[in-house]
């Protein structure tokens, strides 16, 4: 081990700062002070929304209602301050504090650097150069399905995971779980040692102990041996389990997955008579109908699907085609928020809509019944016609939460319109299939009570927690573990609820520590190669099964190699192996498409009754961030605002505001949920657009043995979930308890104090009217549209919207102030006195770094937020700090609504630092800790910062984050290994914010200078841009007119394009981060263009948000300052 590289500055705990210890919901937090939940007067809100003209955007219903309480909250001078900090200070206390402050300042000024050691290698590996990262291709599996990644390692420590561009499920991007899997590797609470009845054991002791029961079982041909696995696609494991079943024919192998895909297989069984895995080609799809399939976040290839889906919506470079997404859903999902037309119905009613659409398309056997309330036949006809017209370029898909019948209908519609073989193909199931996984726990529990189980081995799963409420699995497991002559073994990353009930617990290796393999959604196999030796005495599932088989080959590498060697006879195996490892995919492993023939559709009769407020429906869904609970101990994921609800650290009963009003509930009210004889207490969160008479509760919370970060938060949905209704249950009663529970939603955090121009949004038909000057981009700020049109010349700086160029000097900004930064100037000759012509191998002028965020591509998945957290060593703060607006994310996703309360459209807007050319934060810093670089970056120098927070007061975009406490962990050793060594970790009292990944820019500049060349477009990719599945974030040098065969950098081209606009440009901040307007493609039959009014945002007369309309700039500036802490 070489330790001479810097291991990350003043060490901190970016990830699991284990704040939960302090952050359990505590009494001092007065709800009204932290997050007001005034009773919403929906009538008043509706009136306000109707009273506005044009397209209005609002952050939340509270904002529209504009109650005095909400005003007070929003305009509070110190939204970041703890209530206890707001107490008046007595003179005595003041003197004490000041004295202590002086003394501490004096002491801290005399610190010496602690002595450091340099520890060189004994024998330095040839490939390792200290200070230079190495990249290895491997694969992360989520629910078994692989996503190819390139792992960055610094002298042997994985520090960042990026997507593998060669992998079909990644194409270079990743998702939140892949990013967070890095933190899981270093989680200090991972299980470290084998345990037997609570005492530490070694792996060898386990191997010896298991030998006797295994041999006994073999003598009786395996009867009584049960193996319960988590879902997997590993070909090696498949081969091992096949041998296991040969050797133990009487043994049972089962799969348990709380978020199973059984309905997908049941659907293809119903439609085609066999189990198949549908593979969708969104790139080819022009019209998409999703039947409750949240394919942008929850499907097995969500990253790839999101990429392809958004590629079909990119209307640049003169392209006029744009796909259209219809979403019929039983909850409020991210995919629904991105749909052109969304139909929210109770989950059980999705089938009725599917039947109606199928019938309209002439699918035999669809038997349409009565349409759910509020669904018009015209809508159905319009959708059906649109799908029919696009024939083979249509695509219909159903979500795993919907019944087999809905899946069968989707397959039938695809067949009817001719999509099969074009936008949808079918392959053999990629998962290892061992019967109905939804029923496995029931079988196992029954077998335990019938005394048919002698040895139970559970791998990866946590059924004691995730079992449905009607299956008493935990009790059965407990009794089995205490039975004489029985053996129970649990292998997993954590000593969780199941481990506590088993005799043996074996720590499982993290995927970055062990050899394995996995297949992607289309069958492509990847070798999972470790990036680091196991941190603890852990082993892989392959090694466990090899032990059970008493194999000679017992190490993971040899087991995996052996499988692939056998599978590829006659080839030069070493070449193949090397190729598979370097490319990240095994060549020629993509599953061949199967031709399918659909029989006549024989659907079971639908009995679903429409729900009422008294007998509501409940949808159980995987949690957006912690999934089924397996990510509960990840600080990054817990603190990541969940899609749509923006909640952190908790789940909640999500319902529509109307339903809440009907039941007399407001946000954060505790309710009793009664479903048959099962009850659960949970807090309420209102979500505009949620289907009525139906609630959604996500899985994964209320854990007891997840670890310090996962325990005790949220509400355990499994206590309500029954085997017969895993996804949707009806007959739910909701009873108010009168108690309250604080929920840390981030929707109001960092609210921009302008009501206009934050979102520009139009429809495809509006764009096609005038593609060069889309009308929705030029409705405001500058008055007459013809003025605005002048702005858009070919100046790539147009996004910075220099205020009103005078007519006689179109290029000279209308400002009294000198042009400060050399990179401002397009023409180096303009550089003026004290000139800064760039040297180095970069062309003149000096690079001007800039970013474009394409709102039309952003799906709001938050992958950028968590990738930034991983790259920049950003700390988590814990729930009580989030309640005080203190989360540290450098890039946040603002969520705006427009339209009606019942079914608003949503627009997601990622907001990092704008890197203003005239940054308001810079002149107010008394110590020049924040300053401007020659390349236009608003730099933050931590070691200079004294924590006055003036900069964050003065930032109109609210992107600065302050370390109110020592949020970074400086002590936990495993967390120190995870740090990006190129980024300083921040300590208490220091301001931080987005740096445009300055460490990556510096590295690219140094490498270019060393190679005596210019920095080319693509040399610098920020972490947020790299992770983005939809390429919504584009970063580069605005002054680069040489890259891409002379067309200039992508960011330069986009900034010169017609969609570009900046936020709050009326403040003359000249932001370097600009946005591209969002487009929708509504069906003109459903939504006639006339009804759409002016696109753009904020026609005159708007005062719904309660801010002045006359003098926009002044109001914005004032409001901005007033909203930050202190001035």
């Amino acid at each position: 081990m070489q330790d001479q590289t810097k291991t990350g500055g003043q060490a901190g705990r970016g990830g699991a700062s284990h704040p939960a210890v302090e952050s359990a919901p505590t009494a001092f937090v007065s709800l009204d002070e932290i997050a007001p939940s005034p009773k919403l007067d929906l009538e008043r809100i509706r009136q306000r929304l109707e009273g506005t003209r044009g397209r209005e955007f609002w952050r939340s219903l509270e904002e529209v209602a504009d109650t005095p309480e909400f005003r007070r909250y929003i305009e509070r001078e110190f939204p970041h301050a703890a209530p206890r900090d707001m107490q008046p200070l007595s003179r005595r206390n003041f003197l004490q504090l000041m004295g202590a402050t002086l003394a501490l300042a004096g002491i801290s000024g005399c610190a010496y650097q602690p002595p450091e050691k340099i520890v060189p290698y004994i024998e330095q590996p040839e490939s390792v150069v200290p200070g230079k990262p190495n990249y290895y291709a491997t694969a992360f599996d989520r629910g078994g399905y692989a996503i190819g990644i390139l792992g960055e390692t610094h002298v042997g420590r994985p520090t960042k995971l990026e997507g593998n561009p060669a992998h079909p499920a990644s194409l270079g991007a990743t998702d939140i779980f892949t990013q967070a899997s890095l933190l899981m590797l270093y989680d200090p609470e991972r299980s470290r040692s084998a345990r037997y009845l609570g005492s530490d054991q070694t792996w060898e002791q386990f191997q010896a102990a298991i030998l006797e029961p295994i041999r006994a079982a073999r003598a009786r041909r395996g009867a009584g041996v049960w193996l319960l696995m988590s879902p997997s696609t590993s070909p090696t494991l498949g081969a091992q389990l096949q041998r296991f079943r040969q050797r133990f024919p009487g043994a049972r192998v089962l799969v348990h997955d709380a978020v199973s895909r059984e309905n997908v297989y049941a659907g293809t069984r119903m439609a085609f008579g066999q189990e198949l895995q549908p593979v969708y080609d969104f790139a080819q799809a022009q019209r998409i109908l999703s039947l409750d399939a949240d394919f942008l976040t929850n499907e097995v290839a969500n990253v790839r699907y999101a990429h392809d889906f958004m590629r079909g919506r990119r209307v640049r470079d003169g392209q006029t085609e744009m796909n259209r997404l219809y979403m019929v859903e039983g909850t409020m999902s991210l995919t629904g928020a991105n749909a052109d037309h969304r139909l929210g119905v109770a989950p059980s009613q999705v089938e009725a809509v599917a039947r109606a659409i199928a019938a309209a398309l002439g699918v035999g056997g669809a038997n349409p019944g009565v349409l759910p309330d509020g669904v018009a036949q015209e809508w159905i006809t319009a959708v059906a016609n649109d799908l029919r017209e696009h024939g083979g370029r249509s695509l219909v898909l159903a979500g795993p939460e919907q019944s087999a019948a809905v899946h069968a209908l989707a397959h039938a519609i695809n067949g009817a319109v001719g999509a099969v073989g074009r936008t949808v193909t079918y392959v053999e199931p990629v998962e290892l299939r061992f019967g109905d996984s939804n029923n496995s726990l029931r079988q196992l529990t029954d077998a335990i009570s019938a005394n048919q189980v002698d040895a139970l081995i559970i791998v990866g799963a946590n059924p004691a927690y995730t079992a449905p409420a009607d299956v008493p699995f935990a009790e059965a497991l407990k009794s089995l573990s205490s039975g004489a002559g029985k053996v129970t073994v649990h292998m997993g990353l954590y000593e969780d609820e199941t481990a506590a009930l088993c005799q043996w617990h074996l720590p499982q290796s993290h995927y970055l520590e062990a050899w394995s393999d996995a297949r992607a959604f289309d069958g492509t196999a990847s070798i999972v190669q470790p990036l680091i030796q196991p941190l603890y005495a852990t082993h892989s599932v392959h090694e466990l099964v090899a032990t059970l088989l008493e194999d000679d080959i017992l190490t993971g590498l040899e087991i995996v190699r052996d499988y692939w060697r056998r599978r590829s006879p006659g080839t030069n195996f070493d070449d193949l192996w090397y190729q598979a490892l370097t490319r990240g995919i095994v060549p020629n492993t993509k599953a061949p498409a199967r031709t399918v023939s659909a029989g006549a559709l024989a659907l079971p009769a639908s009995e679903a009754q429409p729900p009422t407020a008294q007998a509501a429906e409940i949808a159980f869904r995987p949690d957006p961030t912690i999934w089924d609970g397996q990510w509960a101990n990840s600080g990054w994921l817990q603190e990541l605002p969940k899609h749509i609800s923006t909640l952190t650290w908790d789940n909640a009963v999500m319902m529509s505001p109307e339903m809440a009003q009907q039941l007399g509930l407001t946000k954060e009210d505790m309710v009793d949920l009664r479903l048959g004889d099962r009850t659960l207490q949970a807090a309420v969160w209102t979500v505009p657009g949620h289907p009525k008479n139906s609630v959604t509760l996500t899985l994964g919370y209320g854990r007891e043995r997840a670890g310090r970060l996962g325990n005790g938060f949220g509400f355990n949905a499994y206590r309500l979930r029954g085997t017969d209704a895993l996804w949707n249950a009806s007959g739910l009663q909701i009873v108010k308890t009168g108690r309250r529970y604080p929920l840390a939603g981030t929707q109001h955090h960092f609210t921009l104090a302008a009501e206009r121009g934050l979102i520009k949004y139009g429809t495809l038909s509006q764009l096609l009217e005038d593609p060069k000057h889309p009308p929705f981009l030029h409705q405001e700020h500058h008055g007459a549209p013809e003025d605005a049109a002048q702005d858009t010349g070919n100046d790539p700086h147009v996004g910075t919207e220099r205020p009103g160029p005078g007519p006689e000097h179109p290029d000279v900004p209308n400002t009294l102030y000198p042009q400060m930064w050399p990179s401002d100037r397009q023409n180096p000759q303009d550089a003026g006195p004290g000139t800064y012509t760039a040297q180095g191998y970069n062309s003149q002028p000096i690079p001007a770094w800039g970013m474009v965020i394409d709102l039309n591509a952003c799906i709001g998945c938050h992958a950028c937020t968590i990738a930034c957290q991983a790259e920049n060593n950003i700390a988590t703060v814990g729930k009580d700090q989030v309640l005080m607006n203190r989360e540290m994310h450098w890039i946040r996703i603002d969520q705006y609504h427009t339209g009606t309360v019942e079914d608003p459209e949503r627009v997601f807007e990622p907001v990092p630092c704008m890197h203003c050319e005239k940054a308001p934060c810079e002149p107010v810093c008394p110590v020049e800790a924040t300053s401007h670089s020659a390349e236009g970056i608003n730099e933050m120098t931590y070691n200079r910062c004294i924590g006055t927070r003036y900069c964050s007061n003065n930032c109109p975009y609210k992107v600065r984050r302050f370390n109110f406490l020592q949020f970074s962990d400086q002590h936990t050793p495993s967390i120190q290994l995870m740090r990006n060594p190129d980024v300083t970790t921040r300590s208490r009292g220091v301001m931080e914010k987005c740096t445009y990944c300055i460490q990556r820019i510096n590295l690219a500049r140094i490498e270019a200078e060393k190679e005596e060349r210019r920095i080319e477009d693509g040399d610098v990719i920020t972490a947020c841009a790299q992770v983005c599945p939809t390429e919504a974030i584009i970063f580069g040098n605005i002054n680069d007119d040489y890259s891409n065969q002379g067309r200039g950098s992508r960011v330069r081209q986009l900034k010169a394009g017609p969609f570009n606009y900046g936020l709050l440009t009326e403040l003359n901040t000249m932001p370097r981060t600009t946005y591209l307007a969002k487009l929708r493609n509504p069906n003109p039959v459903i939504e006639p263009a006339a009804a759409h009014g002016a696109g753009g945002h904020g026609a005159a007369g708007h005062d719904a948000g309660g801010h002045g309309t006359e003098s926009q700039g002044a109001a914005g500036a004032h409001g901005a300052a007033g909203n930050e802490e202190g001035h």
């Binding site: 070489q2 340099i118 150069v129 200290p130 230079k132 180095g840 300053s931 300055i998 510096n1002 200078e1009």
Partner: protein, 218 residues
């Protein structure tokens, strides 16, 4: 009410007037000392687990810097020689010298030698060796005449002011690339004239870019 202060406190009060007069210059002296890289341990040789002599290896034997510091022109980190690097020679030469026992022990047992860091920047300052080498900053400019140091010491104080001296006026320090590792080299011509030429030739960034905070702090 009793008297709060005893009469003797008058003396103390008078003395304190003198005291203030004495303390002010003392403070001045203290500030002066702090400004002189006090505590920076400049030119203080550091004890090391092996008494490795740069004077011997560089000065007497003429071994190139890059023989041991292999990544100095590739990476931010100059690199420290692995035990194997030492043993390439010392398995033959001085193979039973007691002073080399820690090296042999490391080789035998597989436990690395733990050297005490001499040039230690604060953790919030980032320095990249390779770009300095590329742009013609000689080793000697920062590390001094290591060929004359029996035990290595810090020649320069590595303060920010010292870094900026060169980042503001690189022409005062750059040298021909082929002389970067030549410790004893002195310019044959005027440094200023040569420096200005080399800064152009090597495309050294201008001082505005070189003195951005983020050049070193990120």
């Amino acid at each position: 009410m009793a008297q709060l202060f005893h009469p003797s406190t008058n003396v103390l009060a008078k003395l304190s007037i003198v005291g203030v007069a004495a303390v002010v210059p003392l403070l001045g002296v203290a500030v002066y000392f702090f400004n002189m890289n006090y505590g920076a341990e400049v030119r203080v040789p550091k004890e090391q687990p092996v008494e490795f002599s740069h004077r011997h290896h560089v000065g007497d034997d003429g071994i190139d810097c890059r023989y041991c510091h292999t990544s100095v022109d590739k990476s931010n980190n100059a690199g420290m020689p692995s035990t194997y690097t030492c043993m390439t020679c010392h398995s033959q030469l001085w193979s039973d010298s007691p002073e080399l026992e820690p090296v042999r022990e490391s080789f035998r047992t597989g436990t690395p030698i733990q050297w005490d860091r001499v040039h230690d920047l604060p953790d919030f300052a980032y320095f990249n060796h390779s770009i300095h080498v590329k742009k013609g900053v000689g080793c000697v400019s920062c590390h001094g005449r290591v060929d004359e140091m029996p035990l290595i010491w810090k020649e320069k104080d590595l303060t920010m002011k010292w870094c900026l001296d060169c980042h503001r006026k690189p022409e005062d320090f750059v040298r021909p690339r082929e002389r970067v590792f030549d410790i004893a080299w002195t310019p044959e011509e005027d440094q200023k004239k040569m420096g200005e030429r080399l800064v152009k030739e090597y495309h050294v960034l201008n001082s505005f870019q070189l003195t951005n905070c983020s050049t070193c702090h990120h």
